[in-house]
Structures are given as structure tokens and as C-alpha cells.
């Protein structure tokens, strides 16, 4: 094959490559297009026509062979549609509806689901990284850097490929667990999603085929136009992967906010309504960002593991760099994640206020305190890593003496951030405390102060990052002095504004206080969106103080990466648990009731234990995958070029 390409002229090669790409893309996407047109029409019927079942029912009606078609009203869209199929089964606590082992079925399903989700998220996120990094390599003018990026993308996809088969296996285990332990529930969901289930399967086949071609064609499509074809394949791979995830999300969105069915849960012939429920899109966006943050964390942990077990300086340099990029990507996607979370919560409140209250002010409110603590930990760890990373740069020591002040701000910010104002209490506790607020702590922890705490933490992190960018460089632009003074003043004013508003909140009513979050967040975002580009502009053509000594970073920095990865994983498990348990005793909210013996909500402690179990199970298994990865043919890492300058961090791949 390779020889054949070499014999062709450059023009023919190009034509062949483009044609091959088009044919392959067409073949891979054909089943999806066919299926989508079928879906749009309700499954099976020619595009544009009414659903097949509806047509049949109408025909029967017209011919007078059947009774009049029963119509139902969509519980969410309020549209009318013909009733197709049975209603949601009314289950009872017995072995027919809930077969069981001598163990809590819900926990078994929880574990199976979470493991599949972890792996699924990972294998969907990594190709997106590969696409970005491969692209960065292709457009890089520095050949050494281009090779490094290419090698990195290859390393990423190699890890993902090993995990891919495990994802499929876990998917199988999940379905078997579902079928075995919750047959009535799974049967009902399958009957509702019947029109798109085959699309899901076809998408999975298309995803597998593209992934294998992408991976195994890496060396064959290394040069010239073929490299662009290869990159295009990663785009196709990600499109298919995203469709796959959206389809999977539609199941959970339906369970939380059902649509497309009547009050009895009977399907009304419009599969788009079933998929496009109130919470589907917010969940999609939240999951894409979450997957990216998680994927970055896993790859960074892999790099940390390889760094710590490296025998040579070259290996250490390579994996230090790999860990840095993966972690940067993970954190970059972590930053917009809360905004997607806010959108999701807003939609939850809009859909059912009670659901929102259960989350934020009711039964599950304590879990958000854990989440707040974890967010603080993530930022603290990120800062710690950046400070450690300063040590591998000549010139980085200039900033070390100031770190103690940043530590102080971060710790104070965290303490303020996690101090609750009102908490969920039992009546006895409430009586003992003499009111809903603690006699001492109740004076603190109002919203503006908490916002002040987290904004102080984020601003400090931005400052750490700016120092990191300046680690081995000094700005030489003519306006450098003015720029430095301006930046310093900007940060001081933003921080003072933040602290002042945090304190001011104590002197105004609660409903006015809520509005203070806007100027507080505006200050932080200004620091991020104005100061970071300003810093880069100042550093352009700046004076180099020395090289980045990749690999020369203390091992504890790698533990910071592992801490981040573990915390990402734990937080993902926590938020998944919160999302799922907010349905309380409903399999499908307000449509199909959970009548199993496990229809109650566990305590926080129990949930935390199961989340920890899931996290550790995932990491033990993925460590095994990492180990398997090292058994294959080892590609010699490209040595890190001595004196490599810090690449501009504007691109997604940063350094």
C-alpha cells in the first residue's frame, strides 16, 4: 500500500486521498443518515411521512377494520398523538419485576453504570484531544515540535484504543445487569426507544471502524495530503462519538424529564419528542465538557505514572510534557463546566421546581457542600502544580518568594467558600442550635461572601498561571513597565472589589445580595479574559532567561496531577449520583414508579463509600490498561529538544 502511494504522482495522490476520504466518510455515515431520516419520520417509514405505526393505525381506521385510533396528550409538549404501545408497567416489590441476588440490586447497577460511563467518557474525550494535538502538530512550523505533538496524539489514541474494548465489555455487562435485575424497567425504556436503538448500534459500529482505521493508519498516512485525510478522520470519529453520546444521554434525560409519552407512559409516535426532552441539551453540553475534563485527568495520570516509573531523562522529559498538556486541557474544560452546570440547574428548576429544591435546598443539599469542597481542592492542587512547574524554568525562582501570600489567600478563600450559612438539619439539631443558623458560624457564609471566596481562589489561580507563563521570560516590549503596573493595579482592584462586595453583602437584604455575584464574577472573568492575553502580548518576542528543563520537576508535582485526576473522577461520580438520585422514587419521573425495596435515597456516607469504590475500581482497572499499553511495541519517545522555548499558550495545546 505504501509503495503504491510512493509510485503515484503527487497530484494523483491528492485526488486519490480526497476520493478515498469521501467514499469512506459516506459509507460510515450512510447508515446514520438513513436512520435519522427514518427517525424523523417515526421509524421505518419513508422520510417525510408519518410514522409507520401511525400509518398502519390510520389505514386500519380508514378501512374500518380497527377501532378508532386512541389519542393521547404528550405530558411535556402537550401535543396530541396516537397511542402506540403499552403504558409504563406498574411494578410491585417481587421477584418478577425485581429479580435479585443477595445484594442490593441498585448498587450493582450503579457500579456497572458508573464503570461504563467512566470508560465511555474517556474513549469519547481522548479522540477530541488527539484531533486538537494532531492539528497543532500539523500547523506547527517547528519540525521538532510537530513530531512531538504527533507522537503525543499517537500516545493518547493508543491508550484510548486499549480502553475502547473494555468500554464495550462494560457496556455489555451494563445491559445484562439491567436485564437481569430490572427487566420491567429496561423493557419499558427499550419499547420507548425502539425506533432509535438500531441507530445506536450502527453508530457504535461506525465509531469502532473509524477508530481502528484512524489508529492503524497512523504510519501509513503520515505525510502530505494523507496526513490531512488522517486528521479529517479524527473529525468524523468525533462527530460519530458525539452522536453516540447524545443518544445515550437521551435515555437518562427521558428518565428525568420524560416527554413524547402520555400520563400513563404510552409512546405517542414522535421519537424526536422522546429524545429532545427538557433536560437533554443541558445534559449534552455538561457531559461533553465533563468528559473532556475527565479525559484530560486520566491521560495526565497516565503521564504521571510513566514519569514516576521512567528510567531515563528522555522518558521523564516526554511524560512531564505530556502530563502538563493533558492537565492543562483538563483544567481548561473544567473552567466552563460550572456555567454548563448552572444552565442545567436552571433548566431543572424550570422543568420542576421541586426537583431543583431537592437538589439545592433539600435532601441532596449536603452533597453540594462536598462538591464545593472538591472544587476548592481542585483549584488548590492546580496552583500547587503550577508552582512546582515554575521550578523547572530558569527564572521561575523569581516568583517563589511570593507563593506564601498566594497560599494565604487560597486557604482563606477556601475556608470562606465552604462555610455554610444555613444547613439541612433534623428538628432536634435545630432545637439544640436554637435556630436555623449556628450561633457563631451563622454570622458568616452568606452568598456574597462565598462568592468572594471562590472568586479570590480563581483570581489567584489566574495569577499563578500568568507567573507560570512568565517563568523563563521577561517582557521586552516598550510598554512593559506600564503593562506591569496596569496588570498589578487591575488584579489589586479586582480583588479589592471582590472582597468589598463580599463584606457589603452582610449589610443588605438577601434578595439584593444575590445581585452582587454579577460584579464579583465580572471582575474574575476580566482578569481571565483581559490579563491573560495582555500577558501574552507583553511576552511576545520576550527575552528568554533559560530553557524549560522538561523532566526536572519534583515527583510530588506528579502526585498533584494524580490528585487532580482522582478528584475529577470522584466529582464525576458524585455529580452523577446527585443527578440520578434526584428522581427519588421514580424510575421515569412521574411516569414509572420505583417499587423496588431500594426506592429510598441512601445517606451521604453510603453514597460517598460507593463513589469511592467506583473511583478505585476504575483506577485499578485503568492502571491495568496502562500496564497493558506498555507491553506493546514501544515507540521511542522523541527526545525533548534541548533549550526548547516555552511555546505560546494561545493554542489549545499550550506548552
Amino acid at each position: 500500500m505504501g509503495r503504491l502511494f510512493n509510485q503515484m504522482t503527487r497530484g494523483k495522490k491528492k485526488l486519490f486521498a480526497v476520493s478515498a476520504l469521501m467514499v469512506m466518510s459516506g459509507l460510515l455515515l450512510l447508515p446514520i443518515f438513513l436512520s435519522v431520516s427514518a427517525v424523523a419520520s417515526g421509524g421505518g417509514a419513508p422520510a417525510g411521512g408519518p410514522p409507520a405505526d401511525v400509518v398502519a393505525a390510520q389505514k386500519a381506521g380508514e378501512e374500518g377494520e380497527a377501532e378508532k385510533v386512541e389519542m393521547g396528550r404528550d405530558i411535556y409538549y402537550k401535543t396530541e398523538g396516537p397511542v402506540i404501545g403499552e403504558g409504563a408497567p406498574v411494578t410491585a416489590d417481587n421477584e418478577t419485576f425485581y429479580p435479585r441476588y443477595n445484594f442490593e440490586s441498585r448498587v450493582l447497577l450503579w457500579v456497572a453504570n458508573q464503570q461504563h460511563l467512566y470508560y465511555g467518557s474517556f474513549v469519547l474525550a481522548v479522540p477530541i484531544f488527539c484531533m486538537c494535538i494532531e492539528f497543532a502538530g500539523m500547523v506547527s512550523k517547528d519540525k521538532a515540535m510537530a513530531k512531538k505533538y504527533d507522537q503525543l496524539a499517537y500516545d493518547f489514541i493508543k491508550i484510548s484504543l486499549t480502553a475502547y474494548s473494555l468500554t464495550a465489555i462494560l457496556g455489555g455487562i451494563l445491559i445484562f445487569t439491567f436485564l437481569t435485575l430490572y427487566p420491567a424497567f429496561f423493557g419499558y425504556l427499550s419499547s420507548i426507544f425502539r425506533p432509535v436503538m438500531h441507530i445506536y448500534a450502527l453508530t457504535f459500529v461506525a465509531e469502532s471502524a473509524t477508530l481502528y482505521i484512524y489508529y492503524y493508519g497512523w504510519d501509513k498516512m503520515r505525510e502530505g495530503v494523507l496526513k490531512w485525510v488522517h486528521l479529517s478522520m479524527s473529525v468524523i470519529l468525533n462527530v460519530i462519538g458525539t452522536v453516540l453520546m447524545f443518544l445515550a444521554n437521551s435515555w437518562i434525560a427521558f428518565m428525568m424529564s420524560p416527554a413524547g409519552v402520555d400520563e400513563q407512559g404510552r409512546y405517542l409516535g414522535n421519537i424526536w419528542h422522546v429524545i429532545h426532552t427538557a433536560l437533554w441539551n443541558p445534559l449534552n453540553v455538561h457531559r461533553i465538557l465533563g468528559n473532556m475534563a475527565f479525559g484530560g485527568g486520566v491521560v495526565a495520570a497516565y503521564a504521571a505514572y510513566r514519569f514516576l516509573s521512567s528510567k531515563t531523562d528522555e522518558e521523564r522529559a516526554h511524560y512531564d510534557w505530556m502530563g502538563y498538556i493533558a492537565m492543562s486541557l483538563g483544567v481548561a474544560f473544567l473552567i466552563p463546566l460550572p456555567f454548563a452546570g448552572y444552565w442545567l440547574m436552571r433548566e431543572v428548576y424550570a422543568y420542576r421546581q421541586q426537583m431543583g429544591i431537592t437538589l439545592m435546598g433539600g435532601l441532596l443539599a449536603w452533597l453540594f457542600i462536598i462538591q464545593a469542597t472538591m472544587i476548592g481542592i481542585l483549584f488548590l492542587t492546580t496552583n500547587y502544580y503550577l508552582w512546582q512547574a515554575l521550578g523547572r524554568m530558569t527564572g521561575g525562582e523569581r516568583f517563589q518568594k511570593y507563593i506564601k501570600y498566594l497560599v494565604f489567600i487560597l486557604v482563606v478563600g477556601l475556608l470562606v467558600f465552604i462555610t455554610p450559612h444555613t444547613i439541612v438539619m433534623s428538628p432536634a439539631e435545630l432545637k439544640a442550635m436554637g435556630g436555623q443558623q449556628h450561633p457563631v458560624l451563622g454570622n458568616y457564609g452568606v452568598m456574597s461572601a462565598k462568592n468572594g471566596g471562590i472568586n479570590a481562589i480563581i483570581m489567584t489561580t489566574i495569577l499563578s498561571f500568568i507567573w507560570y507563563q512568565r517563568g523563563n521570560r521577561v517582557p521586552t516590549v516598550s510598554w512593559a513597565k506600564f503593562g506591569n503596573i496596569f496588570m498589578g493595579c487591575f488584579f489589586v482592584i479586582a480583588q479589592l472589589n471582590n472582597v468589598w462586595l463580599a463584606c457589603y453583602g452582610y449589610f443588605i437584604p438577601a434578595n439584593v445580595r444575590i445581585g452582587l455575584s454579577v460584579p464579583q464574577v465580572a471582575g474574575t472573568l476580566s482578569c481571565l479574559l483581559l490579563m491573560t492575553p495582555l500577558n501574552l502580548a507583553m511576552l511576545k518576542n520576550g527575552r528568554q532567561l533559560g530553557p524549560i528543563r522538561w523532566g526536572q520537576i519534583p515527583p510530588r508535582s506528579q502526585y498533584a496531577i494524580i490528585m487532580l485526576a482522582t478528584a475529577f473522577t470522584w466529582m464525576m461520580g458524585l455529580m452523577g449520583y446527585i443527578r440520578s438520585s434526584v428522581r427519588l422514587f421514580w424510575h421515569v419521573n412521574e411516569v414509572m414508579r420505583d417499587n423496588s425495596p431500594w426506592a429510598y435515597t441512601h445517606t451521604i456516607g453510603f453514597a460517598a463509600n460507593v463513589i469511592s469504590f467506583n473511583v478505585l475500581f476504575f483506577w485499578i482497572s485503568i492502571m491495568f490498561v496502562f500496564w497493558l499499553g506498555t507491553l506493546g511495541a514501544k515507540k521511542v519517545p522523541v527526545p525533548s529538544p534541548a533549550g526548547q522555548p516555552v511555546p505560546s499558550p494561545q493554542s489549545a495545546t499550550g506548552h
Partner: protein
């Protein structure tokens, strides 16, 4: 601990035995004394670590359902094990140290989760399909007792109260003092007498001096005892027993809410059950279900009848919990029963006249300053909390003491109480109503 170690050995003896075997094998097979010493030492470390791991697993298995707070201990044990392995087995050092660190992080987070107050969401109330029509009078009466008092046999329990909330105002036992509403003992007989009272104006509703003459236009008045009971439930202000009207209304308005409307919203089936109990508990024969239902249909227009789904939330793990705070404001106050006695601005159906108007943003600061106030509250929110948990701490002028139930402290969750207090504290005279979100 000894038990735990015993179970660990029971679980892991094949592995431990294999390691001991390996130790013996090294003694025989390795001749180099330095190598032998190292191999023996590493095997001993391996035995120790394996033993620790099995103890951790045993602890996890034992406490998974029983005491989940002890589970993080297992994670800490495994952390120690992995770090020890990392120290003495250089080949897998990185893997072990990373694993140990992850176990440590997971243990810390689990421990944190277990350290926080533990709240468990109870089982949902089982849905019981009630077909009142096909019940025997005894069954119907039992259901009625449950609706009035919260359970069968509860009618003699002081403070027992059910969905109907009747005992908040009415007395049910012979001789009981009933200041806010008539004692309902003997009502099956007394109903006939009421019809004859001059103020009742049987068959001549227009002659009544009450604010509301008829339940709805054209409904007419009651003509027999059962209809009188039905009319009293459906239209309490159509006839007010002397001395039980809203203060200052000269008995033209009743403080009682319409039972088929929020906040109580009993269905016709449920009201039939209540009525049946009032007959049967005195040993009297109750009218047939259909007769009772028809009497209510006379006074409740079809559009106003609560959906008779025939489903009732019975019992459940919530036990006697009235509300947990996850409800929207209207429903929260309704479930707690406040609207039956209080007027609460902004809350649907909260027009009760038995208790004071709850304009607490304005009232609470004044009450705290009142020289007669002997409570402990220092802020309006504390005052409201105190008033709910301990109603006798301060009794508003012109309202009698010991009327409000004193068990809200055990019948509302902290979240529900906090939510109610938040809302009430925002109610101020002359100011817009607070948002109900």
C-alpha cells in the same frame, strides 16, 4: 479486631498459605545468603500486606450495610499496604505509590462524606388504591378515623391528627371542652335538631343572615341530618353555630375552611369515610355510601369536586412527617396545615381566621419588643422558629393559648421549617409579596 482478623484469615488463607509456601521454597532454593535474605524479607512484607488487605476487605464486607462509617478505615488500611509495598518492591514502586495515594484521597473523601450529617430519604409512601364505594361501614369508618386522626385507634390519643386536620379545632370526645369549634360528639342526633333552629332557615336559604346563603346558587339547604353534615363540610359559612363564628362577625362567617378545597381537599369518598366514622363510633347505623355521596354532590358542584383518584398516600417511611421542605411554598404550608387556622399572604387557600395573620416581617420585631414577651428570640427569624416549635412561648393578644399543635418540631424537617421561616419573615405590611421560588 480479633474477630476481624479471624475472618480475614478465613477469607485469605489460600493466598497466605501460598506466600508461606513461597517463603519456605526460598529457604531451600536460594543458596546466596544475601539474595535469600532479601527474598525472605520481601516475602514477609508480602504476607503482612496480604493480611492487611484481607482485614480491609473483611471490614468492608462486614460493614457495607451495617455501619458504612467504618468503610473508609478499609481504604486507609489499603493505603498503608500499598505504600509499604511501594517501599519494598522497587519494580512496582510507582504503581503502588500512585495506588496508595489514590486510596488515601478516596478514603479522605469517603471519610468526609461519612462525617457530614447523615440524611436518608425515606421510602416513598406506598400508593394504596382505595375503593370507598365497595367498603363495609366498618372499613369505611376505619378510613375515616385515619383521615381525622392519622391512624386507626388514634381517636383517643391526645394531639393525634390526620389529613383532615379536624382535631385542630373540633373536640370529638364526650365532655371535651371545644372552644374554637363545636364538639362533634353526638352530631348524628344533633344534626336533626340544628335543622330546626330558627337561624337555619331550612328550605329558605335567602332568609339566612350569614355572608354565604347557599353552598352554590340553587343548591338549597339541607333537609336531613346527613345533608346537614355534608353542608357543614362543604359550606361552613352557610350556617354558623352560635358562638363559633369569626370574632366580630356576629356568627355570620365561619373560621372553618371548606373541606373539599385546599388546603385540606378531601374527596367525596374521604368525606363519606369521615361521616361514617362519626356514626359508627357512637354505635349508630350510618347511611349507605351512596346516600352520603349524594348528600355531598348536592352541595359541591361537579367542577369543584377534588379528583377522586381513589389513591391515598398511606403511612410510608415519612411516618408522621408532615413536610420535608422539598415542596413548593403553597404545598409546604398546606401540608403543614397552617392555612386551616392562619391567613398567610401569598399562600393559596391560606385564609384561616382561627390564628393570627402571619405578617411576620412586620409582627415579629414588634412582638420581641413587647414587654410581655418572655421568649428567647433575638431576631424575627428566631421568633418565628420559636413560635412554630413552642407556640406557648408567646401568645398573641386575643388568641387563646394551647390551640396550636406543639409537635411541629418532630413533624417538620429542618429544611421545611427553615423554608417556612424564610418565607414568613419576608412578609411585611405595605410591601410586595416575596417570590415563591
Amino acid at each position: 479486631m480479633v474477630e476481624l482478623m479471624g475472618r480475614a484469615i478465613e477469607m485469605g488463607w489460600p493466598v497466605l498459605l501460598m506466600l508461606v509456601g513461597l517463603l519456605l521454597y526460598f529457604q531451600a532454593s536460594i543458596s546466596d545468603p544475601v539474595k535469600k535474605k532479601r527474598a525472605s524479607f520481601q516475602t514477609l512484607i508480602g504476607i503482612f500486606c496480604a493480611f492487611l488487605a484481607f482485614i480491609a476487605i473483611s471490614n468492608y464486607v462486614d460493614n457495607f450495610e451495617a455501619n458504612s462509617g467504618l468503610l473508609p478505615v478499609s481504604l486507609v488500611m489499603i493505603t498503608i499496604m500499598t505504600f509499604v509495598m511501594g517501599l519494598y518492591f522497587p519494580n512496582i514502586s510507582a504503581l503502588m505509590k500512585i495506588g496508595g495515594f489514590m486510596f488515601f484521597v478516596a478514603a479522605a473523601l469517603s471519610g468526609y462524606g461519612n462525617w457530614l450529617p447523615q440524611v436518608e430519604g425515606g421510602f416513598p409512601p406506598p400508593v394504596v388504591k382505595l375503593d370507598f364505594q365497595s367498603m363495609s361501614p366498618q372499613q369505611l369508618g376505619d378510613e375515616g378515623e385515619k383521615i381525622i386522626f392519622g391512624g386507626i385507634g388514634q381517636s383517643k390519643t391526645q394531639g393525634a391528627i390526620g389529613k383532615g386536620q379536624c382535631p385542630l379545632c373540633h373536640g370529638f370526645q364526650q365532655g371535651f371542652l371545644s372552644e374554637r369549634a363545636p364538639n362533634l360528639f353526638g352530631i348524628p342526633d344533633r344534626a336533626t335538631e340544628r335543622l330546626k333552629e330558627p337561624n337555619y332557615h331550612m328550605d329558605n336559604a335567602a332568609a339566612r343572615n350569614t355572608e354565604q346563603k347557599e353552598a352554590f346558587e340553587g343548591s338549597g339547604t339541607a333537609t336531613n341530618a346527613q345533608e346537614y353534615i355534608a353542608e357543614s363540610h362543604a359550606c361552613p359559612s352557610c350556617f354558623v353555630v352560635t358562638g363559633f363564628g369569626v370574632k366580630g362577625s356576629n356568627d355570620t362567617v365561619s373560621p372553618m375552611p371548606k373541606i373539599h378545597k385546599p388546603p385540606i381537599s378531601l374527596t367525596i369518598g374521604e368525606m363519606a369515610a369521615v361521616d361514617t366514622w362519626m356514626y359508627t363510633r357512637e354505635g349508630k347505623e350510618s347511611p349507605a355510601y351512596d346516600v352520603i355521596a349524594t348528600s355531598y354532590e348536592k352541595f359541591i358542584p361537579e367542577a369543584d369536586r377534588p379528583a377522586a383518584g381513589g389513591e391515598e398516600e398511606a403511612g410510608g417511611a415519612g411516618g408522621n412527617l408532615l413536610a420535608d421542605g422539598s415542596e413548593p411554598y403553597d404545598k409546604l404550608f398546606m401540608k403543614a396545615g397552617c392555612p386551616a387556622c392562619h391567613t398567610i399572604p401569598g399562600i393559596e387557600g391560606a385564609t384561616g381566621k382561627v390564628g393570627p395573620l402571619l405578617m411576620e416581617g412586620t409582627n415579629a420585631p414588634n412582638r420581641i419588643k413587647d414587654p410581655g414577651y418572655k421568649g428567647k428570640a433575638k431576631s424575627p427569624k428566631e421568633y418565628i422558629t420559636e413560635s412554630i416549635l413552642d407556640p406557648s412561648a408567646y401568645v398573641v393578644k386575643d388568641f387563646p393559648d394551647n390551640q396550636m399543635p406543639k409537635d411541629f418540631g418532630v413533624r417538620l424537617t429542618g429544611g421545611a421549617l427553615s423554608k417556612m421561616v424564610d418565607y414568613l419573615a419576608q412578609l411585611k405590611e405595605g410591601q410586595p409579596l416575596p417570590p415563591k421560588e
